[in-house]
């Protein structure tokens, strides 16, 4: 075990981002303390793809009544989970959730007036294959207004939860869609310090994977932390 490449906290959003108001009272004020990773951080839960149901990766149908399907532009979302060293992350669980085509979540605290789609639940999950590839099918979510200032709208997005193979790799992020002008107006997107960081979360329209007369496709790769590579031992005290 050689531990992980340290997380670049200038690349991630800082904890306190006043433009995203909820962060103000939910952000630790002390700096997080660093220590060398141990087996507690280098191991992680193991999920097998045989735990998945046949429709877990098909959000168009997994909540729909028999013979019906969710409303909205049908899309395939595909990509690869890699680590910072460029190695694929196989057999890892990817969970997604999203609003329906009108921008409405199926949640009791949701107050947006757009209607629910009776055939859309809004969650799905897949496990990457042996080369780190994943694919799921859904409808393109709509943008929605949210209470921050009175003028904030979220760009269309899909939430992603990814495990990797170590608890140190655990990551939640969001995927955005190529060409959406709302990306550049969103205070949550704007918590990411750099334009390059934001662009790394924008999925590309991928007509090569579209299904004729059926679905568009978007490609979204996800990069998790990588292990340090060396043949040399850590200093024994590790500090």
């Amino acid at each position: 075990m050689t531990g992980f490449i340290p997380r670049d906290r200038r690349w991630h959003p800082p904890a306190l981002t006043p433009g995203y108001k909820t962060s103000v009272k939910r952000s630790p004020s002390f700096a997080p303390l660093s220590f060398p990773t141990s087996p507690s951080e280098e191991s992680g839960p193991v999920f097998r793809d045989d735990m998945l149901g046949p429709q877990d990766g098909d959000l168009i149908h997994n909540f729909a009544k028999p013979g019906e399907s969710a409303v909205g532009p049908r899309i395939i979302v595909h990509g690869r989970v890699l680590d910072e060293c460029g190695r694929p992350v196989p057999n890892t669980l990817v969970e997604v959730w999203q609003a329906n085509a009108g921008g409405r979540y199926r949640h009791k605290k949701e107050s947006y007036l757009a209607p629910l789609d009776p055939n859309f639940g809004g969650c799905g999950r897949v496990v990457t294959d042996e080369h780190g590839f994943y694919e799921f099918r859904t409808i393109q979510p709509g943008p929605y207004p949210w209470p921050n200032t009175m003028a904030d709208w979220r760009p269309a997005h899909i939430h992603f939860s990814v495990f990797g193979h170590s608890f140190a790799q655990r990551l939640i992020t969001q995927m955005y869609f190529e060409g959406d002008p709302l990306i550049w107006k969103c205070p949550i997107v704007d918590t990411i310090p750099s334009r390059a960081g934001i662009e790394s979360l924008v999925a590309a329209l991928d007509m090569s994977r579209a299904i004729p007369m059926d679905s568009l496709a978007y490609k979204f790769d996800i990069v998790l932390r990588g292990r340090r590579q060396t043949h040399f031992e850590n200093r024994p005290e590790g500090l």
């Binding site: 991630h12 303390l33 220590f35 909540f63 060293c85 605290k109 939860s161 998790l224």
Partner: protein, 200 residues
């Protein structure tokens, strides 16, 4: 110019948002019929060895308000100090996930008391449970560790606890026994009792 490093950038984190429960605990949020049960509901799946314990706690914001929209995950060794997937107890997953109580936000994990895990130099760490907290308003998932207040000797030798600069903050990492195997571990995101979070 120099050669290019073949290193990719980690995908930047984004907040889990207010609807993380839809994706991670859909049955809890009332979306039933897609998954048979929410992942991480049961950590003990059979006749796992070790002392059965219950971990309870609440996540508080800087105003002292309990979060009811957080998602808390735990990851820990089994009673022998081994992790699932690495020779650990087959009846213990080591991983739990809680959306918290609908009304109070209190999370609960039915688990076993973890054994000691090695440190890179071979020393033993005190028994601990790794916590990961995400919610609306948290931009990057927060890692912390729960230690046991009734493990004085092991805690005093622990490689992390023993080198913390602000030792007066150590109690923020200690779960307090409440009897009958129940331990309370409250998490404070901010304020006078701010929990120690780790950059692991």
């Amino acid at each position: 110019m120099v050669q290019k490093l073949d290193i990719l950038r980690e995908s930047p984190s984004q907040t889990a948002g207010p609807y993380v429960h839809i994706g991670c605990t859909p049955n809890f949020s009332g979306i039933t019929g897609i998954y048979p049960e929410d992942l991480g509901t049961r950590m003990i799946t059979g006749d796992a060895a070790g002392e059965r314990i219950t971990i309870k706690g609440t996540v508080h914001d800087g105003a002292g308000t309990a979060l009811r929209d957080a998602l808390v995950e735990v990851w820990q060794a089994d009673a022998a100090g081994k992790f699932a997937g690495q020779g650990g107890d087959a009846a213990f997953t080591g991983w739990g996930r809680s959306a918290g109580d609908m009304a109070t936000g209190e999370f609960t994990f039915e688990t076993v008391k973890p054994g000691a895990v090695s440190w890179p130099d071979g020393r033993k760490q005190a028994p601990h449970v790794t916590f990961w907290i995400v919610a609306r308003g948290i931009n990057l998932g927060l890692h912390t560790r729960m230690y046991f207040a009734d493990e004085d000797a092991a805690n005093a030798q622990d490689p992390i606890l023993s080198r913390l600069e602000h030792s007066q903050r150590i109690p923020t990492l200690l779960a307090q026994p409440e009897g009958n195997g129940v331990y309370r571990f409250d998490i404070h995101l901010q304020g006078a009792q701010e929990t120690i979070f780790f950059d692991i």
